[in-house]
């Protein structure tokens, strides 16, 4: 009976998706907001990557809210899993290959992550993608040596400072009488590393926050002791 109702539900969902496809039409975007943004973004914000212009310039407040969601998720994970018992058994260290690989990859992952964050306004990438790579750089050594862990105090400090500086940059615009997170005028040369006003600074804050948060979150999940 349950299988039958599930199959019926899935059939209905399939028909619904097909109906949405019918209405949506192929190869035709119903919105022209994107084209309008593509036309003016280079002059208004000075970032070569228009996705970055949208994420941090046109919907910067959304990005802040989204960071808040990630922060809430990381906090609740730490709250739900709780502190590890000191007497709990830990997994043994990994073999030589994984340990050497983790040591070898740490600086490379760090450089790639920072590069992607710093070039977020010029090339595909940015704070979110680079932040995840930074988190991987700090989490892979934990996988190789489960006895060690990342320093949660440091992670929390970096995360808090990054989040505060994102809000602080937004508030700076309000000092000049503009609305929250308005980019300042004078963006520099389009396509140069130091360009696009405050957008690279915001992306650095996003990258550090995402990296610290995800590394802490993964470490919490891996530190959880197995059920007896």
């Amino acid at each position: 009976m349950r299988r039958f109702t599930s199959a019926l539900f899935l059939l209905g969902l399939g028909v619904l998706i097909a109906a949405i496809y019918q209405k949506m039409g192929f190869h035709a975007s119903g919105s022209n907001v994107g084209q309008a943004i593509n036309a003016v973004a280079a002059d208004q914000l000075g970032a070569a990557n228009f996705v970055t212009s949208v994420v941090l310039g046109y919907r910067g407040l959304d990005t802040l809210m989204e960071l808040t969601i990630l922060f809430t998720a990381a906090t609740v994970v730490a709250l739900v899993l709780g502190r590890r018992k000191p007497s709990a058994k830990r997994d043994p260290d990994a073999g030589f290959v994984l340990q050497a690989g983790a040591d070898l990859f740490f600086p490379l992952l760090l450089i790639v992550g920072l590069y992607i964050i710093l070039h977020g306004h010029l090339t595909p990438g940015g704070g979110f993608q680079g932040g995840v790579i930074l988190a991987a750089a700090f989490f892979v050594p934990v996988l190789a040596r489960p006895g060690t862990s990342i320093d949660h105090g440091w992670a929390r400090l970096v995360e808090g400072l990054a989040g505060a500086s994102f809000i602080f940059i937004g508030l700076l615009a309000m000092l000049e009488g503009k609305s929250f997170l308005t980019p300042p005028p004078g963006q520099g040369e389009l396509g140069a590393l130091f360009s696009a006003g405050t957008l690279p600074l915001l992306y650095i804050a996003v990258g550090l926050k995402v990296g610290a948060e995800l590394a802490g979150l993964l470490a919490h999940l891996s530190e959880t002791e197995a059920a007896e």
Binding site: M1, R2, R3, S6, F9, L10, L13, G14, I17, A18, Y21, M24, F26, H27, S29, G30, S31, V33, G34, Q35, I37, N38, A41, A42, A48, N49, F50, V51, S53, V54, V55, R59, D62, T63, E66, I69, L70, T72, A73, A74, V76, V77, V80, L81, L122, T123, P124, G126, F128, V132, L190, G191, V210, L214, L217, L218, H220, L221, T224, A227
Partner: protein
Amino acid sequence: MDTSLVMYIAAGGLLLIGSAGIVMSSHLVRIIFGIALLEAGANLLLLLASFREGATAPIIVDGHVPAIMADPVPQALVLTAIVIGVGILALALSLAIRVQRAYGTLDMREIRDRMAQEIADTASIDRPISSHAPLPVDVTSVPSPSEGKG
């Protein structure tokens, strides 16, 4: 075959497979993986909503402005949706770990049964059993073939 048509079928397929995983499986981790697949399908569909024939990424390289650029708004939306998806996945998995610690199992039928029993015990009432309710799952003994399914 048209590339975008394949993408549309893939997005619909991911949505259906994810939903099937949620409604049809009774293992908690499989349900969470179903949610992850559903998210992937929704993200792909959002990106496809802005698909334009022959469009390039909305990025200016060396001062050269492409003739047709893709819509950056859904791309930015999906970028944030993926990050939120990771947060949700981690949260769901940590809750699953707690459930496993509390009940010693990840089977939804058994967990539901135990929860109903606990609520009834706390309220010190007999557990109400309707004639339509599925048979309680007994893990201690292998069900005999005569018991049948609910």
